[in-house]
Symmetry: D2
Subunit: 345 residues, 4 copies
């Protein structure tokens, strides 16, 4: 355990919004220092050129290759585009660096599902089984010794955290789950494309990928684990909403016989009563993205419709914090034996 | 038929957003003239005091009592708060004025449902059976001779239009319908209350009334009519979203055996192929509030998930236009034999 | 005069926001029909592919060259990027087509100023002197017979309309004028570039081009004409604000001796009392972009600070309507002897 | 100096946005603990009832009278509405509590100005002279021993910080200063009033109080001090913009003879080169509210127009942080000998 010195952290692919959030959080982290900040495109530039909020700080982008040469750090957080993580993870792991990947590259356990959704064979199937799913509330013990962490995705975090305990407690049935989510535009990354320019997003709410979104198999995998069933097939319907940050997921579940509002509350209390970053609201209240904005919290609200026998759950996270960079740091804190909330309050 | 002269229209309760939208539309209506604009609170004031966009126009609020004295108009559009419509509708109907009510007061056929959701006996049950539901695409014939029109609500319009044809065609089952809707803040009216101030709404998406919203029985009533079943129980989950105008409804339906994407398209083509104000998108595309902003259109997108056997429909309207004032004018146009789109393009 | 038939209008460069607004307005124009819609990039496609709000309408983009072949129209509105208008205007004018250019290509009378701000010689200087400045409130007589109209820009419209009458009446001095404007993001066109994506614009207000913006010489030219002085040098400071549409200009002027609030009001009444699309607010009230949203109005508010001897004027327009497409149609209506407000209410 | 223990802080009037921001910052402050949280209206309630983001934390509102009884704290931060500070400050000061007032009650040195702008005699004129103006960059030494700190206002902070050094260095003239500012809606506090509801603010930019805003004398006072002149009369024009947080001020100054861009940069470097919370951008770049969002920074950009001999400065702050609660904590840190940035990074 390296409690007495700061852990050295490299951020790979730091020129996007998840990278910016990582830097923001690491800069105030009491037990971490930034060892390298990479960007293929911006190598050599001041970080402030890309993110003016860091003007005046001595931060520079280096080429990923440069950071890979000396590997002078304890942890690497990968905020790379889809498909690039393996190329970095393999040599980093060999060098003893702990790897926290924010992309979806190592989240699926099934290579078949990976191929179905990503239209390619996984380049390193052995890493899929090695990787620990980066969701502290459900895999804390495994994370303490994990070398490779596949941090949970944004939509999946907002979907799984409120749903898994209900399935595990058999209070909700694994069939017929509906998840309708709204995400702020930063969820698309810092992508320069017509659908993301301001006049196209403002005053606009629209669904997309209503069937077969890439986060679907990740959600189904983890909920099947939670329910203790071999497979779950559900509907996940994402929407783009005029927010910068935030995901609101509304989840409708078939209640098991005997379900009541009280029992739902008890299940949540048992699951999250001691969690620092999950906030369960009093019964019938609804989660609000505003109250998790720029925090590492997941807020959960619940209700029960006895007439239709449905459990209705709402959950909110900040997609860049609990849905990406904050969660990666939370996992890192656990792995290095630090206070789990270090740098996250 | 009074085609050769302009119909005279009184707007009751014109100081809210639906009232403002009514005035905006009526001012450019080629066959209508505004006969009276009432507001209890603002009687005597220039309309421009409340709505500066009408500065320079000779429009004044009068007390409702003053407008009721002479009843010098052919049509009255009521944009009053809940519960007040009966008091005006009865004498207006007696005087031969055609009444178009934007509130929910006459929409339910069942007095029991009314009592359940509004916690009071309906003051004029005979009007409930007399009123024609103001949704032109489904009740056009009845509207041609209606004296009292209960204009469809905003959430209900966005829910019923895309769902009713699928139920009527038996392509979707009446059980297990889920409707998750997001509404812009003008949907709450021009209400001055903490949850609606800008800093509370901006960067916020939150569900509310996840069980038992007042629009629920209206949706269930009309979908039961469409399905030809005595009763439907569904889940309707509204959300408040940071938009001024617009409702996005995402509807998940259990498909009947044999359902395909093509069949869904055919049902919509048969239902809406000739409708001027319903726009069905090509298969798999999703409706967007932006494309109906300040129009009287309902945009519908559809998809089919063979894996879970669900039909997923998205629909968007402008809550103040197709969801309120535009629809009222469309109904009025039908009733008075005018071009149905007069004033609405 | 061709009052008895519809004028045929071609829209060149219709795939941007000004083009979309032109189509929206022309589609409801009672005396105009759309003869051609051009886009180099989208030639052959349905207009609905680019602008889904037009789904179902029989509108197709053609190549500009195709529209130039037959020139089967009375008017051409050019919504092309900077620098391309001459290439179209010359042959169109030769063919007798009236040309309304929304770009800045023909707005400056001085070729020297053009070169200074656009870093190139003007390709057709003779057209600069021929073009009538497309601002109906100030050049209505000339517009009645103009063949080439250089429609006033968005920032210039919001700056000149409130300022010119004060200078013309010698109530304000031509020295030391300060104009600070905020524009919605559609003012940048439908440009796909990092500064315009939603997460960069939302919760952001920033100035840009604080010295030497390209709209500056246009404003100075017209204000010098209004003041009857050879030259004016002023400061114009644009800002990007999180709006879709709308420009708010705040203008600070040195008052001439004897200036009072009443005199300012009188000057405005004389200048705009009969104008349909300029709305002067009561003294001390301030213009609001919200009240001109999707209208062809310019709203003007004024105040006088006796302590510093400054006149403070606020003015708002919708940059896509009065600042671009609406104004072009207003000019076209004047040129063809139509009701000046046709299609604009 | 009480470096070895935590200072105990009471927050008075904590149910508004400045109060929420104070709690957010104090909760992560390493050297401070919250001793009392008062609200007349919400006394006895959990803080989470008013601010759900604090759900799960053991925070309760008490009546101000209860906090005043034992005065069991070292510092009191007053976030009360205008006019109430004196009533608390007098007994607190007598009890040896250091008082940091966020309101405008003690900012003006001149009782005459106070009466002119607030229409009442100041209730405790002796406190006006005793109070130190809470702007660390200009009054750091005095703050180290101040008992009563009148924290600088939001508009004033964004106006004075960029302007004072230019006046002090005689690079800008004290005459003819123009300040045009845009503020997010939280600047109005958590006020429930029609102009602040979402549909009124969204897509709206409007000026207000264009002559005689209450922050004007505060700005003039401090700039006169900086310029070393008895009095300054300037124009300050605030606008309401569709943001939650953030003020953007654009300031136009008459340059002194010999002014150049380089000299402006040198003045700023001398004034702020070592300041942790003032970030001067490279010449010609413009400040952006986005880059100070939820930070305690003031960002300053500058340009020089040789043609009109004007200096154009843009400055941005977060009105709730550097413009209110963050600045109060910065002052408190200075007063108690703590790291000036404690709790603010």
């Amino acid at each position: 355990m390296i409690m007495d010195k700061k852990i050295r952290v490299a951020v790979f692919g730091a020129a996007g919004y998840a990278g910016e959030e990582l830097l923001r959080l690491l800069l105030r982290h009491p037990n971490a220092e930034i060892a390298a900040i990479t960007s293929r495109k911006n190598a050599g530039e001041d970080v402030a050129t890309v993110f003016p909020r860091f003007t005046g700080l001595p931060l520079k982008f280096v080429a990923p290759s440069e950071a890979m040469e000396n590997k002078n750090f304890d942890a690497a957080i990968l905020a790379l585009p889809h498909g690039l993580a393996t190329e970095f993870a393999v040599p980093l792991l060999q060098a003893g660096v702990k790897v926290f990947d924010i992309s979806a590259d190592f989240r699926l356990k099934s290579t078949a599902k990976y191929k179905e959704y990503y239209k390619a064979d996984h380049p390193a199937p052995e890493l899929l089984s090695q990787a620990v799913y980066g969701q502290p509330e459900r895999y804390r013990e495994q994370l303490k010794t994990a070398d490779l962490v596949a941090c949970a995705g944004c939509y999946p975090t907002s979907s799984i955290l409120p749903t898994a305990p209900l399935l595990a407690a058999k209070l909700a049935l694994p069939d017929g789950i509906i998840i309708s989510s709204c995400s702020g535009v930063s969820g698309a990354g810092r992508k320069v494309d017509l659908p993301y320019i301001y006049p196209e997003c403002n005053e606009s709410i629209k669904a997309y990928a209503t069937v077969g979104h890439r986060h679907l198999p990740e959600i189904e995998q983890e909920l099947a684990f939670a329910a203790g069933v071999p497979e779950i097939a559900l509907n996940f319907i994402p929407h783009l909403a005029p927010l910068n940050r935030g995901i609101n997921s509304t989840i409708i579940l078939n209640a098991a016989p005997g379900c009541t509002l009280e029992k739902i509350g008890e299940v949540y209390e048992a699951a999250y009563g001691k969690e620092q970053f999950v906030r369960v609201l009093p019964a019938k209240r609804c989660a609000d993205t505003k109250y998790v904005f720029m925090t590492n919290c997941c807020e959960i609200g619940y209700n029960f419709d006895a007439r239709t026998n449905k459990i209705i759950v709402t959950s909110c996270i900040d997609n860049l914090t609990k849905g990406a960079s904050g969660q990666a740091i939370q996992c890192m804190n656990i792995r290095f034996g630090l206070d789990e909330a270090a740098g996250l309050l």
